[in-house]
C-alpha cells in the first residue's frame, strides 16, 4: 500500500480490529470488553468531569517532568559531549542512574521528600534525565568544530550560538530524546500516581484495579494515550518537520 497521510489512521484501525477479535474470542466483558462497550463508561466519566480532572492532573505532572528532564538532560548531555574531562567524571554516574530501577527512585523520593507533588515530579524527572543526557551527549560529540570557530571569530553572543549554531545541530538528538521522553515520562507518572498521589490517571487506574473494573482501567489509559497521540501529531511531528525544513529544500 502506498504511504499516505492516512497510513497512521489505518494502522490504528488495524489495532482496533485486533482488539475486537481478541474481545470476541475471549467473550468475557469483565476481562476484555469490546471498544464499543467502553463508550458509555467514557461518556459517563466525561460528563461527571472526573475524566478531565484526572487527565488534567496527569498532564500537568507530565509537562513539568518533561520540561525539567529535557532542560537538565540537554544541559548535562551537551556539557558531557563537549568536555572529555567532564564526561570521564560523570559517565559512571550516568551508568548508575540509567540502571537504577524507576520504582527505586520513586520510593526513595517519596520516603525522603514525602508524599508530595514535588516528590512525584522530581522522581519522574530523575528517572528521565539520564536517558536525555545520553542521547544529547552523542549530539554534543557530533557538533561541527568549524562552526564553533566561526562563532568565535565573529564573536557571536552565547544566546546566538545556542539558538543558531548549537541547538539546530542538536535538533535530531533532542527530537529523539523528546519523543522517547514523552512516552517514558507518562508511564512513570502513572506509577508515581499509583503509589502516592490522590489524583491523576494512575490514581484512577489504581482505584479501578482494586475494583477489578477492566473497562474503567482501559477508559483512563486509552484517554491518556489519545492525548499523547495528539501531542505527537500536533506538536512533536510539526516541530520536527519545521526544524528539518532545510534538509528537504
Amino acid at each position: 500500500m502506498e504511504d499516505t497521510r492516512l497510513t497512521p489512521f489505518l494502522s490504528i484501525l488495524g489495532l482496533l480490529v485486533l482488539w475486537v477479535v481478541a474481545a470476541l474470542l475471549t467473550d468475557d466483558a469483565q476481562l476484555l470488553p469490546t471498544p464499543w462497550a467502553l463508550l458509555p463508561k467514557f461518556a459517563q466519566e466525561l460528563a461527571s468531569g472526573e475524566l478531565l480532572t484526572h487527565l488534567g492532573a496527569t498532564i500537568i505532572r507530565v509537562l513539568w517532568a518533561f520540561v525539567l528532564a529535557m532542560s537538565l538532560g540537554t544541559a548535562i548531555g551537551l556539557a558531557m559531549g563537549r568536555s572529555v574531562r567532564l564526561n570521564r567524571w560523570l559517565d559512571p554516574w550516568l551508568v548508575i542512574f540509567l540502571n537504577l530501577p524507576a520504582l527505586v527512585l520513586i520510593v526513595l523520593c517519596y520516603l525522603w521528600i514525602g508524599l508530595t507533588e514535588a516528590a512525584a515530579i522530581i522522581a519522574v524527572t530523575l528517572n528521565k534525565v539520564p536517558n536525555v543526557a545520553t542521547v544529547v551527549r552523542e549530539g554534543g560529540r557530533a557538533l561541527d568544530p568549524a562552526l564553533d570557530a566561526m562563532a568565535q571569530v565573529y564573536r557571536l553572543s552565547w544566546w546566538r550560538r545556542m539558538c543558531h549554531v548549537i541547538l539546530p545541530q542538536l535538533a535530531p538528538f533532542i527530537a529523539a530524546a523528546a519523543r522517547s521522553g514523552v512516552a517514558v515520562i507518562w508511564k512513570i507518572v502513572l506509577v508515581v500516581e499509583f503509589l502516592g498521589r490522590s489524583s491523576g490517571v494512575g490514581f484512577q487506574i489504581h482505584l479501578y484495579f482494586q475494583l477489578f473494573d477492566v473497562g474503567m482501567v482501559l477508559v483512563y489509559a486509552l484517554s491518556f494515550i489519545a492525548v499523547m497521540l495528539l501531542v505527537e501529531w500536533l506538536l512533536l511531528q510539526p516541530w520536527e518537520r519545521r526544524t528539518a525544513r532545510w534538509r528537504r529544500a
Binding site: A146, A149, M150, V153, Y154, L156, H164, P168, W246
Partner: protein, 198 residues
C-alpha cells in the same frame, strides 16, 4: 595595524612554529604561502584568536572576519539569516544588498544547501565583508573550485577588498593568486625549531 609575534607553537611534543613575526598595515593585503602541513592555517587561527595556546602575542583590531577553507555556513538558516545572525546590526535590506554584491541577488530566502559550492563560497565572502572588517583572514578561499569559478571568486575578492579596504591576510597554494591579490608575500619555510618566515 595588526602585529603578530609568535615565538613558538607546539601540538603536544611536536613543535610546529618557531619565531614568526610580521605586521599588516591598514588596507594592506598579505599572502602567506608555503608547503602543505607547514603551519599556515595554524598561523591564521592564532591571528584570528581561535587558537590561544601559543607563546607570543598578537595585536589585532576589534572587527575581524574570516573566510574558512570550507564555507562554514549555518545550513539550517536562510542566506539572509546567515548574514543577520552573524551581524545583528544589518537590516534585511542591507543583508540583501550584501548578497547582490556577491552575485546572489534574489536568493535571500534560499538555504545554503540549495547553492553550488562556488555560490556558498560567495556567501562566506558576503558574510565576511558585511561586518566592515578591519582585519580579514582567508584560509585558501578558492580551494576545490574549478579554474573558471576560482578566477571569478578572485576577481570578486579583489573588488570587495578594494571597496572595503580591510587589512587582509590570506593563505594560498597558488603563487598566481598570491601575486594577483597581495601587496606582499610571506613564505613559511621548515626550520630546525619549527617553521619560520623565510
Amino acid at each position: 595595524m595588526t602585529r603578530v609575534e609568535i615565538t613558538s607553537k607546539s601540538f603536544g611534543t611536536a613543535r610546529v612554529l618557531g619565531r614568526v613575526s610580521f605586521t599588516i598595515d591598514e588596507g594592506e593585503t598579505v599572502a602567506l604561502v608555503g608547503p602543505s602541513g607547514i603551519g599556515k592555517s595554524t598561523i591564521l587561527r592564532i591571528v584570528a584568536g581561535i587558537d590561544t595556546a601559543f607563546d607570543g602575542r598578537v595585536e589585532r583590531p576589534d572587527a575581524v572576519a574570516m573566510v574558512f577553507q570550507e564555507p562554514t555556513l549555518l545550513l539550517w538558516r536562510s542566506l539572509r539569516e546567515n548574514l543577520r545572525i552573524v551581524h545583528p546590526a544589518l537590516t534585511p535590506a542591507e543583508a540583501e544588498e550584501a548578497l547582490v554584491q556577491v552575485g546572489l541577488a534574489g536568493k535571500a530566502d534560499f538555504f545554503p544547501g540549495q547553492l553550488s559550492l562556488g555560490q556558498q563560497r560567495r556567501l562566506a565572502l558576503a558574510r565576511a565583508f558585511a561586518g566592515q572588517p578591519e582585519l580579514l583572514i582567508m584560509d585558501e578561499p578558492y580551494a576545490s573550485l574549478d579554474q573558471e569559478t576560482a578566477q571569478g571568486m578572485l576577481r570578486l575578492t579583489e573588488t570587495l577588498i578594494a571597496r572595503h579596504r580591510p587589512a587582509t591576510l590570506f593563505v594560498t597554494h597558488s603563487m598566481q593568486e598570491a601575486n594577483h591579490l597581495a601587496d606582499r608575500v610571506l613564505t613559511l619555510r621548515e626550520g630546525p625549531d619549527g617553521a619560520t618566515l623565510g
